[in-house]
């Protein structure tokens, strides 16, 4: 990590666990979808089309949420990043003027490092805390503890993860399959209530 022309090395701590929330959430949503689909006996017969539609709705809800977790990283404020468990996950501990955020955006794993410097209490700059964002730009300000800090440099590293790409494609395909099943069933829905007169 370049800082004052010297490299700093950090490693994840061995004694603590940290999970990328997006992946965990996406996994949990998918496993809920799987549970919904498998919680019926093999021999179970669906009795009405509406029953299938409702099941598909529930499954699609979980799949959409899983996909959205990967496609839309959380917009965090700088104090939220500072308070997150990730900052305490490194050995040796991060210096106080560094903030780190890791997130997934589509098929990319992103690491952002914010270099901070403290604002003088009597500085002429008018202090305006930055709102939540995926990526904060230099100049964003925030209050942490009793200190007012400003982002001086932002470094961002991205890394494409192939299996994330696959996962997103599978999400899209499975959602389309579900929708097609729903469409096919609802074609008949007009006949459910149909009666000759």
């Amino acid at each position: 990590m370049p800082r004052n022309n010297q490299l700093l090395h950090f490693a994840f701590r061995e004694d603590k666990q940290w999970k990328l929330q997006q992946i965990q959430d996406a996994r949990n949503h998918v496993s809920q979808a799987i549970y919904l689909l498998t919680s019926r006996d093999q021999s179970y017969q669906f009795k009405t089309g509406a029953e299938v539609l409702k099941l598909m709705d529930a499954v699609m809800l979980q799949l959409t949420r899983a996909r959205n977790r990967l496609t839309t990283p959380a917009t965090l404020t700088l104090p939220e990043i500072a308070a997150s468990g990730l900052t305490r996950m490194f050995a040796p501990a991060l210096p106080s003027d560094l903030l780190v955020n890791v997130y997934i955006n589509l098929n990319k794993l992103c690491l952002t490092v914010y270099q901070l410097h403290a604002l003088q209490p009597n500085s002429t700059k008018n202090f305006r805390p930055a709102r939540g964002a995926v990526l904060h730009s230099p100049g964003a300000m925030f209050e942490w503890g009793s200190q007012r800090l400003e982002v001086s440099h932002v470094h961002k590293v991205e890394c494409v993860i192939p299996w994330l790409n696959d996962a997103l494609v599978y999400f899209t395909v499975s959602l389309q399959l579900c929708q097609q099943l729903k469409d096919k069933i609802s074609v008949f829905s007009s006949y459910w209530s149909y009666r000759p007169f």
Partner: protein, 1102 residues
């Protein structure tokens, strides 16, 4: 929502769908609460004999309900909390269905536990929540704000289920949770309250991996304080609470999935499955003494095994549907039962009474416990079918025995008071909404039933799915146009006046799911266009003038969720259910762009901004209202699977609607998701009604017509007004007659309207601009003058709905006779709304649920038992004041009867205002109000309201009320008192109405007894009084005070003369002394009002 809005539900024959997703029984075992996929909560009454009956439907959530829980110590406050898929949380008062608190958090909860530790905590306690987020959230039970969270240091994950353990032995409360991955964690609760309040991190005390997935329930055995029952979907396990050692594992057989369980006694557990079965097991200890503390779990593991005692199962029926949500309620006090309950997706509730000591059969085989009670919403509808007919059911007679027509879509046109109903068989019925409602609600309306003018449009061959009345959205479009779409993707443009088909569009794209219109600012070739969303996710744009289809966008893979218009570049922006966006160029019909993800979201948000920018233009504010209605109404139809559209959005749509155009009467068609069952809600705007009913000075009408030069339409209206007025004056128009009379002018004015469309178009623009400038006083007035007799009819229907029919037979008779209103067919389903987005509707048969309701009162339109007491109290304070118009004549005079109605309504309005007024406001107003020295704050506030509600009469009187007499204040005080005692508005209104009517009718009843020829003079006198509905009564009180100081007899005789002369043309005078006795109290007020009356209606005095 306007506080003066009263709603009455007109249910159809079919109950609205209620797919139960959560169920609970309140601690007093009187109420079952269910939450549904549709987003509503239902309150079911549970009688002492374990009979179920649905009571009330609560509207508050806009998405599927995920969980329900107690939100307070139930014996103190009967509150529960509900959470929905979209993060909404509501706290409800179960006894009256009010929503006490609402919040939307970015968390989806799947389970909530209420925790309160009285000696360590201030406030109302915590809601411990878990769901689709890491660890456990702590939410304040009162404010619904996040307090803090319990963090886990090891394997943070979503939590599936939890329970609170109160252990007497350790004197410590603990929170036990099981995570999605099967990790059991324990937090100290009571000892960490302080650190939570100081926002310190609290980590788990212990954690253990349970080696199974999909945990459903975790329960602690409070009897032995030893065992821990954990139910997974494929097995259930028993652990030793002391060291979490596994004692027993029972795997599910024959493919069943466990859904939950409970410890019902020491070593006795109840397990239930997702398909509605349940099993009671005895946990047997084989031989080994319990006193030996097992150092090793394995020793005990061999010694405990389950023995099946009993089982339950639901009755087989074809509607049966999975999954079941079940729960168990333990016995608490003597009259309480051990109850196992289940709710199904189909909406059925089933109850089992679990015996105190469940035993197996003699041969050791399990005994089957029979179902104790089962019920659905539909059962309520079937049982009380007199009240549950849809609004147009009386047309069924016309359809030679084909059964009743199922209404699949409906639309209300406020400007014409017409209700358009599209039926399942493809016919469209257009009817006068008020008449339809009357025929539906009132008894003995054979007169009404035969006559209601209605039109039947035949053109569709399939069920009508959507309707649109373009003129209602933009006044620039032809008033006669109406669009309807059917299942067969055929859209018909009708002329509703001539019943002609102007054009048929064949789209060939599946059912037409919704018809929308482009906003006013969006024009193509100078015309607004119609957007038609179809079942195959395509969108068609129709040009009505050119009778052509401009564009048929067919590329969408997912259901259309949102339609936006880009006026500058002529783009149609379609948002789909999968969050993708399609941008179509309207002129060329080409797909311009297709975006997904973040960019799609930005595009949709951008459009919002542009609309907002436009609306800054001064003229557009009216348009904006249009737009907001349109957009709101556009969203519910298109919402796909995720957030449930249905009722919620519609009800909010209604709010804007009502604000946009205050009318005394409105019909709101409501449709729910996943079914074509709909129902209607009648909305009465009490304030507007009173406003319109108060004897309007004719000058108002004159000025309005002179205002806008040669505006034919308006003049036509005003002539109608005059005509009906004269009708009333000539005393020939009784109820039904006037209705007929009304029908004529309306058609007349419509015809004129047709001819002058162009003309009125221009005027409309001017009018709108003027409207902006005119002061607030003018604004609330509806742009179109509502017909006077229509208003009276509305008022009558409203009173019919509110009167407690059946409480007193004589009173009923007198009401029918003297007020000329009809009796209800049965108790109405009232809708109660307390704030903007919460709303509750009574279900048919709710009257049987009222606790303490005497059996005789079944079928009586009494909102609650309290009403009678309240009414008595009210009557007790009433006699002090004498100025109230009483003593109606036997010969039913429409004018007098309408005056009585006006009086009653204004009274109700006052009560409504008083009860609805928030306490803080009352205090604030009170303090700022000029004080009459002695009056305390409350009185001052009341005084103010009084002035507020009666400011119309004030204005007309031209003088300001400066003094409110004591007698009246006592009434105000009483009503304010009710508010403090949380008496519901409807109860208060009904109580006051009952008391007033009783008073009124009592004096009526007396007259024939005392002296059969009732003097007309008195009558005339009364008329005067009634003409001055609101403030006069207070004025009179004031006078009454004055009179008290004066010798009584002196004013009487001159006044008498005066009144006699007034009524000389009506009748001669006889029986002076008798009348004298009756009148003397009222007469002093006379001379003062005389001049006023002369001003208001000159023809009367002469």
């Amino acid at each position: 929502m306007r506080t003066s809005l009263q709603a009455v539900a007109l249910w159809g024959q079919k109950a609205p769908p209620h797919s139960i997703t959560a169920i609970m029984i309140t601690d007093d075992q009187r109420t079952i609460v269910t939450g549904s996929q549709e987003g509503q909560l239902c309150l079911w009454n549970l009688s002492h004999e374990l009979k179920i009956s649905a009571k009330e439907l609560l509207f508050g959530h806009s998405a599927s309900v995920t969980c329900l829980a107690r939100a307070r110590d139930f014996s103190k406050q009967p509150y529960i909390v509900s959470a929905a898929e979209n993060g909404e949380m509501c706290v409800w008062n179960v006894t009256n269905g009010q929503c006490m608190e609402k919040a939307t958090l970015p968390y989806r909860h799947t389970a909530i536990c209420y925790y309160h530790c009285s000696f360590r905590m201030t406030g109302e306690g915590w809601l411990l929540c878990c769901g689709e987020y890491q660890d456990v959230l702590i939410i304040d039970a009162k404010t619904l704000a996040v307090v803090h969270s319990f963090r886990s240091s090891q394997f943070p994950d979503w939590i599936n289920c939890m329970c609170i353990v109160h252990s007497m032995r350790i004197q410590e409360d603990s929170l036990l949770v099981v995570s999605v991955a099967g990790e059991l964690k324990v937090w100290d609760l009571s000892s960490s309250i302080n650190s939570i309040q100081e926002k310190q991190d609290v980590y788990e005390k212990e954690s253990k991996f349970l080696e199974s997935l999909n945990c459903q329930t975790i329960r602690f055995c409070t009897y032995t304080e030893r065992l821990l029952l954990v139910v997974f979907s494929k097995c259930w396990k028993v652990y030793d609470y002391c060291d979490f050692s596994l004692l027993l594992t029972e795997v599910s057989r024959n493919g069943q999935f466990f859904a939950g369980g409970e410890v019902i006694a020491a070593h006795r557990i109840l397990i239930w499955t997702e398909d509605g079965h349940s099993y009671i097991y005895q946990l047997l200890n084989s031989g080994l003494s319990k006193s030996i503390y097992p150092a090793d779990g394995r020793v005990l593991k061999e010694t405990i095994y389950p023995h099946l005692l009993c089982s339950t199962s639901v009755q087989e029926n074809k509607e049966q549907s999975r999954p079941f949500v079940m729960g168990y309620m333990n016995e608490r006090k003597e009259p309480f039962y051990k109850v196992l309950f289940s709710g199904e997706v189909s909406g059925r509730i089933t109850l089992w009474h679990i015996p105190d000591v469940p035993v197996s059969k003699f041969d050791g085989s399990p005994r089957e416990i029979p179902v104790t009670a089962t019920w659905t919403l539909q059962d309520n509808f079937d049982k009380h079918d007199t009240m549950s007919q849809s609004i147009i059911d009386y047309f069924s007679g016309l359809k030679d025995g084909a059964g009743t027509a199922v209404v699949t879509s409906s639309e209300y046109i406020p400007s014409l008071d017409k209700l358009i109903c599209g039926c399942e068989d493809g016919t469209i019925i257009i009817t006068q909404a008020l008449n339809a409602a009357k025929a539906r609600l009132l008894e003995g309306g054979s007169l009404v039933k035969d006559s209601p003018p209605h039109k039947v449009l035949k053109g569709h061959h399939q069920s009508v799915t959507s309707l649109l009345y373009p003129h209602g959205l933009s006044s620039k479009l032809d008033q006669s146009w109406m669009l309807s779409g059917d299942l067969d993707s055929c859209v018909i443009l009708w002329d509703i006046f001539t019943e002609e088909i102007l054009h048929k569009f064949f789209l060939e794209a599946g059912p037409v799911t919704s018809l929308l219109m482009s906003p006013e600012k969006f024009k193509l070739r100078g015309e607004q266009i119609i957007c038609c969303v179809c079942g195959d996710h395509s969108v068609a744009l129709l040009h009505l003038e050119g009778k052509s289809c401009l564009l048929h966008a067919r590329k969408h893979l997912f259901p259309v969720r949102m339609i936006k218009w880009h006026p500058v570049e002529n783009f149609l922006i379609v948002g789909c259910a999968d969050d993708s966006v399609y941008i179509w160029e309207i002129e060329t019909g080409t797909l311009e762009r297709h975006e997904t993800g973040e960019r799609a979201r930005i595009i949709l948000n951008c459009c919002d901004d542009s609309q907002l920018v436009k609306s800054v233009l001064p003229i557009a504010s009216e348009t904006l209202k249009h737009k907001s209605i349109e957009q709101r109404s556009s969203s519910p139809y298109q919402l796909g699977p995720l957030p449930c559209p249905g009722l919620q959005v519609e009800s909010s749509c209604k709010v804007t609607d009502a604000k946009f155009c205050p009318r005394p009467f409105n019909v709101l068609p409501v449709k729910t998701k996943w079914s074509n069952v709909g129902f209607h809600i009648l909305l009465f705007d009490l304030e507007n009604l009173v406003e319109l009913l108060l004897p309007t000075p004719l000058s108002d009408v004159d000025s309005s017509s002179s205002f806008y030069g040669g505006e034919v339409l308006r003049r036509a209206k005003s002539t109608v007004e005059k005509k009906t007025l004269t009708l009333r004056k000539s005393k020939t128009a009784c109820g039904p007659l006037s209705a007929e009379a009304l029908a004529k002018p309306i058609t007349e004015s419509l015809a004129q309207g047709d001819n002058t469309i162009k003309f009125s178009e221009e005027n409309d623009g001017i009018k709108r601009q003027k409207k902006m400038k005119i002061s607030k006083k003018m604004q609330p007035k509806p742009s179109r003058k509502v017909d006077a007799s229509l208003t009276i009819d509305t008022a009558k229907l409203f009173l019919s709905c509110l009167l407690p029919w059946g409480v007193d037979k004589d009173l009923d008779y007198l009401c029918i006779k003297h007020l000329n209103i009809l009796k209800l067919q049965g108790p109405i389903s009232l809708g109660i709304s307390l704030n903007e987005d919460n709303f509750s509707l009574m279900l048919p048969g709710w009257d049987l649920c009222n606790s303490g309701m005497i059996k005789d009162y079944s079928g009586v339109n009494l909102f609650s038992r309290k009403v009678l007491d309240l009414s008595d109290k009210y009557t007790a304070t009433l006699p002090n004041q004498v100025g109230i118009p009483r003593g109606l004549e036997n010969n039913c005079d429409s004018l007098r009867e309408s005056d009585t109605i006006v009086y009653l309504l204004s009274r109700l309005f006052l009560v409504n205002k008083l009860v609805n007024m928030p306490l803080e406001l009352a205090c604030r107003v009170g303090s700022s109000f000029r004080m009459e020295s002695i009056h305390n704050k409350m009185r001052g506030a009341g005084n103010d309201i009084l002035n507020m509600s009666s400011f119309y009469s004030c204005l007309r009187n031209g003088k300001n009320e400066s003094h409110v007499p004591e007698a009246d204040l006592s009434l105000l005080k009483l009503i304010s008192c009710w508010r403090d005692q949380s008496v519901q508005v409807t109860e208060a209104i009904q109580a006051v109405l009952l008391a007033e009517v009783q008073q009124h009718m009592k004096s009526l009843g007396k007259i024939p007894v005392n002296s059969q020829p009732v003097s007309m003079a008195e009558n005339g006198n009364c008329e005067m009084k009634q003409m001055l509905p609101k403030l006069e009564w207070t004025e009179e009180l004031e006078l009454q005070c004055v009179r008290n100081t004066l010798p009584l007899q002196t004013p009487v005789s001159p006044v008498k003369h005066d009144s006699n002369s007034n009524s000389a043309n009506f009748q001669d005078v006889e029986d002076m002394p008798d009348r004298c006795a009756l009148e003397e109290s009222e007469s002093p007020g006379e001379p003062r009002h005389h001049s006023w009356i002369a001003k208001v209606c000159p023809c009367k005095v002469s």
